[in-house]
Structures are given as C-alpha cells and as structure tokens.
C-alpha cells in the first residue's frame, strides 16, 4: 500500500480514463461535454493529489520509478497543460460535430504516459511511458479522419515515431547489454566505472539520445514537427507543443543527468550541437512561413534549443533552468495556440494563414495585444517574462564555462526575433481589413487572459516561488 500512495495521481488518471472510455462508448456523441469536463476534473484532482507526493520521494517498485520533486514539477505542468488542451478542444470539435468523447480519454492516457516519463528511473518504465504518450499522440494527430492533412499528419507521425522508438530501443538494448541493468543508478555506476572507453556504452548513449531528440523535436530529428503541427487539429497541436514536449524534455534531462551523469563529456557535445542547430534552424526556417501553426512548430523547435542549452550546462543550476524554461514556455505556447484557436473566418471556419491576422489590432485590440505579448515573450524580449527563463539557461551555461555557446545562442534569439516581430507587424502595421470573426468562448478567453498576465511583467513576481520549486526539483535528481 505504501508503494501505491505516491502514484495516486497516476492512478486517478488511469482509472478515471478507463471509466470515461466506457462512458464514451455507451453515451456516444452526447457524452462529449460530460467526458471533457470530467477529464478536466480528473486532471485537476491529480494535480491536487501531487501535493503530498514529493514527501514520498525515493525509488518505488524496485527502482522502476521515483516520485520525487523533479517528477512532481513535470507532472504539474503536464496535467495542467492537458487540461487546457481538453478545454480548448471542447469548443473546437463541437462546431464540426466531430467531437467524439474519446478525445479527452486519449489526452488522459497521454498525460499518464507523460507522468510516467518524468518519474521514470529505469529504461523499461521510460520506454513504457514514452510509448503510452506516443500511441495516444498518433491517434490524436489523425483525429479528424475525414481531413486529408490530419490523416497524413497521423501517418507521418506514426511512421517516423516508430522509427525513433526503434532507435531508442536499440540504444536501450545496448546500454542494458553493456551494463547489465535497466536502472538509471546502475547505468550511472557502469559509466563511472568504465568511462566512455566502452564503444558499446557509447553507442547506446548516442542511440538513446537520438531517440529522445526525436521526441523533443530537436534538430536534426525535427522533420516531422512542422507537418504534424500543421496537419493535426489545432487543439491537438497545442497539446503536442506543451505536455508531451515537457515530458520528453524532462525525461531527456533526467536520463542525461542521472543515468549518464558520469559521461557528461560524451553527451554534452551532442546536446550542444542539437541545441544550436535547433535554435538556428527554428529561427531561420520560420522566416518564410505563411501558416501560423507551421510557424509555431518552428518556434517550438527553436525553444527546445534554448532548453537544451540549460541541459548542456548540466548540474543542479542547469536542470533548474531547464525546468523553469519549460514551465514558462508552456504558458507562452499554450497562450499562443489558444489565440490561434480563436482565429475563425465566416461561419466559424478556422483560419491558419498569417495574412488573416492583418489589421487585427484595429478590429480586435485585446486579442491582438494578447497575441503580441505572447510573440514578444517567445522572442525573449524583456520586460516580458519570456526573457527570464532564457536568462536562466544562459546563466547556467556561462556558469559552466560554456561562454561561446551562450553567445551563439543569444545571437540566435536575434535571428528568431525577426519572425515573431513579423506577426506583430502584420497585426499592428498592416492596414488590410481583418477577416476574423468573433468566437464566443468565455473559458478560453479567461485562459488567454491568465496566460497573458503570467508572461506580462507581472510574471516576475513568480521568480521567487517558481524558482524555489524548480531548484528543489532539480536538486532531487542529484
């Protein structure tokens, strides 16, 4: 029983999801409202249940998972982001009469998978969590069966995701074969003992990182991201950009720092290359985009690059910076996607082109201001809060002596700023009449307002509490 107490949040979600699946099966389309709100309630309940979890820290089930502060930090973000993704979808599919209730159930399963990922301390649970999230994601991506782009996105995601899982599994098998254990502690011990002289260990490390890089869509394993983000229904895209991404980044952080800690020199170069390539490609490739979902896909690649800078820095400070970064990133990106969800043309038809935003500041000043705040914040321009996490990752990098990396990364922010500015330019400087129609969605409005308040300069008040939480979480994996 003691073993079960720390995983109460996961159990709430799992049992709840199974029950809701039954409800969905029997109630059909009529039950969609019920399942959505029930799922949101479950996620909130799971978040509340987390409060006691860190006190139960320590290995559970023979070292398969650890319910520590690091996991708790990730779970809070994952659960809340999943709840937002469900709320966002509620108004979305309804209109197209396509909202089968399974959507919320899939999100719940994906959230459970994410929770397992961030608390995994064994390669086996790592893989189980990852696949639980991924399988739900594949279905979600092609959720709109009748839409060609959605189907294509799902298929593409599945094929490439399966390939990445294969690479990851191969790496896991190598690590297991050469260390004789699945546990992170054991692997760390083996690396400390043998160093990176063992070719087998080194190969295992590279393959595991490649598989994880796919999941966090770091360059050069990012190819699927723009297509999947564009093709998937927008609420699903919002979900992809937030919860699973946080889970994957945190998982990569834990693997690198906990399991591969003694081999820091070996993985650091990989992470640095991936970070810089992601920042650069995410910034440059977004220049020519005309579809806002594609643009935000590149933005997420770009942002992962910055989070990886914190990871490259390593140590408790680097890990804390990564956690802080991901928390703020999720708020910014969900805010931006909630705005995209409100881009509707005549008859509520969703719009995705950047041109449809032109002149928005005149027709819908509050909406334009919110989106502008998210864009400036994503660009990392002070005084918006998006600046602070960037500062933290760079501080961690300089603290570890990676000054050149910090300079290169910061120059990347300038390149990236260009396309965020472009959106602001389209909304504020262009005169063309806005083609957007109003959408009545009070809950989303409230969420956008909340997100905008957090990334506004008022967010700096969060530095203290959020920073302490992140520090404590980062401290728990060392």
């Amino acid at each position: 029983m003691n073993q079960l107490m720390p995983i109460v949040p996961e159990m709430i979600l799992t049992v709840g999801a199974i029950v809701l699946m039954m409800v969905a099966a029997f109630a059909g389309r009529r039950g969609s409202g019920l399942t959505s709100w029930a799922a949101v309630a479950l996620l909130l309940a799971a978040t509340v249940a987390l409060i006691g979890a860190p006190s139960h820290a320590g290995p559970l089930f023979g070292g398969l998972i650890a319910a520590d502060a690091f996991g708790a930090f990730g779970k809070v973000i994952i659960f809340l982001a999943s709840a937002v993704a469900i709320i966002a979808a509620h108004g979305w599919f309804e209109r197209d009469a396509e909202h089968a209730s399974e959507y919320s159930v899939l999100i719940l399963f994906s959230a459970v998978g994410g929770a397992v990922m961030v608390s995994a301390t064994s390669l086996m649970t790592l893989y189980v969590g990852l696949e639980l999230t991924s399988l739900s994601s594949y279905v979600l991506a092609s959720y709109r069966r009748s839409d060609e782009r959605s189907a294509e996105a799902g298929l593409k995601y599945f094929v490439l995701g399966a390939l990445a899982s294969g690479i990851l599994l191969y790496g896991i098998s190598l690590l297991y074969g050469f260390t004789g254990t699945m546990g992170f502690q054991g692997i760390a011990g083996a690396f400390a003992r043998d160093g990176t002289h063992s070719i087998g260990l080194l190969f295992g490390l590279v393959f595991v990182l490649a598989g994880l890089a796919f999941k966090i869509s770091a360059v050069p394993f990012h190819m699927w991201t723009p297509d999947v983000y564009e093709g998937a229904p927008t609420p699903v895209t919002a979900f992809f950009a937030s919860a699973p991404k946080v889970a994957a980044v945190l998982l990569a952080t834990r693997v690198c720092l906990e399991a591969l800690g003694p081999a820091t020199d070996a993985w650091r170069q990989i992470v640095i290359v991936a970070a810089l390539a992601s920042i650069l490609l995410g910034a440059v490739a977004a220049w020519g985009q005309t579809n806002i979902k594609r643009l935000l896909a590149y933005s997420s690649i770009n942002n992962v690059g910055f989070a990886l800078i914190g990871l490259a820095a390593g140590g408790p400070k680097g890990a804390s910076a990564v956690l802080f970064y991901m928390a703020v990133y999720v708020v910014m990106t969900l805010g931006a996607f909630l705005c995209v969800l409100r881009m509707r043309g005549r008859n509520g038809r969703p719009l995705e082109s950047l041109d449809s935003l032109s002149g928005l500041s005149q027709s819908r000043p509050a909406f334009a201001a919110a989106l502008a705040i998210f864009m400036f914040s994503l660009a990392g321009v002070p005084p918006l809060f998006g600046f602070w996490p960037k500062l933290l990752v760079f501080r961690a990098a300089i603290d570890s002596g990676l000054v050149a990396l910090a300079v290169a990364g910061l120059l990347g922010t300038v390149i990236g700023a260009y396309y965020y500015l472009r959106i602001v330019k389209i909304m504020y400087f262009d005169e063309a009449p806005a083609t957007l129609y109003r959408v009545r969605a009070p809950v989303e409005r409230l969420l956008i307002l909340l997100a905008a308040l957090i990334v506004s300069p008022l967010g700096y008040l969060l530095i203290g509490p959020l920073g302490r939480f992140a520090d404590r979480a980062a401290g728990s994996i060392f």
Partner: protein, 512 residues
C-alpha cells in the same frame, strides 16, 4: 535630510505612474487619452522638479534608494546619483512636450499612441534609476517594444523597414551585453550596480566585457559605423517619436558608458581608447559631410546627431573631469536642441507635409517667430557661445585636448563642419525669397507650438549662460568616476605643464 524622503518610494512612483496612466489611456477615447497623457507627464515633471530640489549634491552618492528582493538574482533596486538625476530630468521635461507635439499630428489610434509613449517614459526612467544589473537590462531592452510600435504604426511611408532595422540592430547589440552581464554577475557574485562599480574585474576579462558592452552602447549612441539605423528611424518616426529618440534614447548609450564601461572596466576602457577616438573622429567628419548633402530635413538633423554624439564619446574617454562633464552637458544640450529642431521640422511638416528642404525658403518673411526660434536652436546646435551647445562642446574639447591633441584637432573640425551644414540648412529654409506659393501661405506659430518651443528655448539659454545649475548635481559623481578610472588613465600627449603664476599671491605655493 533624505531620511524622511526615502520612506516614500518616489522612484517607483516615477516609474509606476506612467504605466498606470498608459493602461488607463487604452480604455478611454482619443481626447481623454490626450489629456490623460498630458496630465500624467506634467505630474511626472512636477515630481521631477521636487526630486531635483530634494537631491543633495553634497550628500551620499546614491539617493532615494529602494530595494525589494524579487527572487533568484534580481532585485527591484532603484536609486539615483546626480548623473542619473539630470538625465531623468531631461526625460521628464521632454515628455509633456512630446505629448503636446502629437496633439494634432496624431489622429489615428490615439489611445494606443499615448499608451506607448507613457510606457516608453516609464522604461527610460527605469533605465536611469535601476541599480540592479538585470533590472537595468530589462528596462533598457523593454524600451524597444513601444518604440518599435511607435515607428511602425504611426511612422512615414518606409516605417516598416525602419522599425525592423531599429529593433533588430539594437537587439543584436544588447544580447552581447547580456552575456557580459551574466559573466559579471557570476564573477562578482552580485547584481548590484553600485557594488559592481567598485568591483575590480580581472584585466584580461575586462577586455571582452568592455567590447560586449561597447557593442550595445555603440549601437544606441550611435557611433559610426553602426549608426545606420538612426537616419531611417528618425526620418520615419512621427515628430514626437523623433524627439524622444534623439532627445532621450540616444542618451542611453552615453549613460551606459558612464555607468558601466568606464567605472567597471577602467583598464578595458583605456585599452580601447584609440578605437573610440578613431570611430568618434570618423563620425565627426564623415557624418557631418553626409549631413551637408541631405535634402531631407529630418535626415540632416539625424546625421548631425551622430556627429554630436561623437563629442560625447570624445569627452567621456578623455578620462578627466572637464571631458566627462562636457560629455554630460553635450548630452543634455543635444537632447534639448535636437528635440527642438525636430519639433521645428514638425511645425512646418504639419503645414506642408513634406520634409524636402527645397520646398521651403524665405520663411523668415511669413513666419518670423518661427524663424527666430529656429535660428536660436540652429545656433545652439552649432555651439554659439551663450547657448548650451557651446558649454558642452568646449568642455569636451578641453578634456579631449588633455588626452590627445590630434583627437582634439579632428573634433574641432566637427564644430566648423557643424556650423556649415546647420547654417546652410537655415539659409535654405528661412532666408531667400518665398519661391513657393504654398510655403508662403503658411501661418506663423500657433499658441500650442509656442508652448512647445519656448520652454526648450529658455532652458537652452539658461544652460548656455549659467551652466553651473546643471553641473552642480553631477560634479561630485563625475569626480568619483574620474578618481575611479585614474589608475588606468593613459598618459595624454598634450604634456600640459602649469605656467608660472604671475601674481605674488601664489608665491607661497610655489615656495613649497
């Protein structure tokens, strides 16, 4: 004396009031927004006057200090010395004038415009008052957003290109500074600016830190060859935007040199002194020549700003009291004079809607009052004795001469060239015959325009006749700065030797 004052977070109020007023502007109509902005800026100015009176030049270096820890590595720390005080005062003085200049010229999206201006004001005051490294950076960079919007939304035909150029240029310069700041915070273990000003960084690190800060401040200043954003931004910005750009935002660069580069990296500053003097020398001569051939009034004044700013860098890196005091006065004077010149351009632009110099001529006939004030500001820009321009440029040149006679020679040609392009401009606009019927039909200054230009004219004369008012608050702080950089000051080539005192009174001293 200051004890009672520090109870009231006066600097926070100074930063917060425009923010609140700016938010309020967004929720009211056009006319109410104008009045809200005007009243808010006037209250700010009144607070500023009170601040000036309450500031004790002989007192502690940092006054009105407030400190509120926010969290890991950043404090809400504000406080001012005399240098910050006079620059804040300049901002507060120009702001109501900017609002007044936009009263009629801006007729679309007025609430947003006023909000953007008030936001700019708050951020600029924050820059001058910040005592925490990262707080400074946040204010410093935050100013980009409202200025980007002001140029992009209310600017001229080429506004979009200008707004991008302005934003990306300055952003690029600043990120390098951020790297240096992070290094400093880690190396010194504090983010407090006063503490860092007393911290001695390793000399070989100073070299890189200095360059990183230089990248940011040189762009803001702007120094040749990274000045190219300035003519675009100035020409495209609305009149009040140009005033605030030239009047205050360009001063952030000079302030940065005084606050960071010189006291924090004295050895680095000495090492790169030849670089600064070379770039400043080129700026003085080259941009003056460029200004000479401009056909667009605003562009001409923009290039003249680059040339004037070179006097600031000459003076600052002279490493002596006269030079730095001169640089400060040039900054204040240029803030007033170039602001006023842009307003003068705005006055006739509002009537004829062109900035082409050739479309005017002979305005002294039909606009005598305008011609008079324009003449005053032209002369102040040239540096005629009795105006503020003379005091600053003279002190700056004296300081420069101490350090490098050659630099002083080059800088002095700038004064001559400055007279050439400014007088040539004035001649083409105000003198000659009224060639164009539409220009001849322009009415003279309206009451509102008098209210905008007359206060600046008064201060320009005041600063020219009795500069002591403006030197008193900064003297002690400049003295501290000079004492701080003394150990690294390079030996000047002017080999000044004190002459033999002719009076008997001084014999006592000579006998020692």
């Amino acid at each position: 004396m200051v004890g009672a004052v520090t109870e009231l977070p006066i600097l926070s109020i100074l930063v917060g009031l425009p923010l609140v007023a700016g938010m309020a502007c967004l929720f009211v109509g056009a006319n109410a927004a104008r009045w809200t902005a005007l009243i808010a800026t006037l209250i700010e100015f009144a607070i500023g006057v009170w601040l000036w009176v309450a500031f004790d030049p002989a007192g502690a270096q940092w006054q009105f200090v407030e400190r509120l820890p926010i969290g890991a590595g950043i404090d809400w720390a504000l406080g001012i010395d005399g240098i910050a005080l006079v620059l804040i005062m300049l901002t507060l003085f120009l702001m109501p004038i900017c609002i007044g200049a936009s009263w009629r010229a801006i007729d679309k999206r007025v609430p947003e415009y006023m909000a953007a201006f008030l936001l700019t004001e708050a951020l600029i005051i924050g820059v001058f008052a910040a005592q925490d490294l990262f707080l400074f950076y946040i204010f410093f960079e935050g100013g980009l957003i409202p200025m980007y919007l002001i140029i992009g939304v209310w600017g001229g035909p080429e506004r979009i290109k200008a707004s991008y150029k302005f934003f990306l240029y300055t952003f690029l310069g600043s990120v390098l500074m951020l790297v240096a700041m992070l290094y400093m915070a880690i190396n010194a273990g504090t983010t407090s600016i006063p503490a860092l000003m007393a911290h001695d960084f390793p000399v070989d690190a100073q070299k890189w830190l200095w360059l990183a800060f230089f990248a940011s401040f040189a762009v803001k200043m702007p120094m040749w060859p990274v000045h190219t954003w300035l003519p675009d931004a100035h020409v495209q910005a609305p009149t009040a935007g140009s005033v605030i750009l030239a009047g205050v935002l360009l001063k952030l660069g000079g302030y940065g040199f005084i606050r960071f580069s010189l006291p924090m990296f004295p050895e680095g500053s000495a090492m790169f002194l030849p670089l600064v003097f070379t770039l400043s020398g080129i700026a003085v001569v080259y941009t003056s020549l460029v200004a000479l051939v401009q056909r667009d009034m605003k562009k001409l004044i923009a290039y003249s700003s680059v040339a004037h700013m070179a006097f600031v860098t000459f003076g600052l890196f002279a490493f002596n009291q006269q030079g730095i005091e001169g640089a400060m006065i040039v900054m204040l004077s240029h803030g007033l004079v170039s602001g006023a010149l842009f307003l003068c351009v705005g006055v006739i632009y509002d009537r004829l809607h062109t900035r082409e110099i050739d479309r005017y001529g002979g305005l002294s006939d039909n606009m005598p009052a305008y011609a008079l004030l324009f003449m005053l500001f032209t002369m102040a820009s040239v540096g005629l004795p009795g105006t503020s321009g003379f005091v600053g440029e003279f002190l700056s040149l004296v300081g420069t001469y101490h350090m490098s006679t050659w630099a002083a020679v080059v800088a002095t040609t700038g004064i001559i060239l400055g007279a050439v392009y400014m007088l040539y401009l004035y001649w083409r606009i105000a003198f000659g015959t009224l060639r164009h019927a539409d220009a001849a039909a322009m009415p003279d200054l309206a009451a509102r325009e008098w209210w905008l230009l007359a206060p600046i004219a008064a201060v320009v004369l005041w600063m020219g006749v009795y500069p002591e008012t403006f030197l008193t608050p900064i003297r002690a702080d400049v003295g501290r700065l000079v004492a701080r950089v003394e150990r690294a000051a390079p030996k000047g080539d002017s080999m000044l030797t004190a002459g033999k005192p002719p009076l008997k009174v001084f014999d006592v001293e000579a006998a020692h």
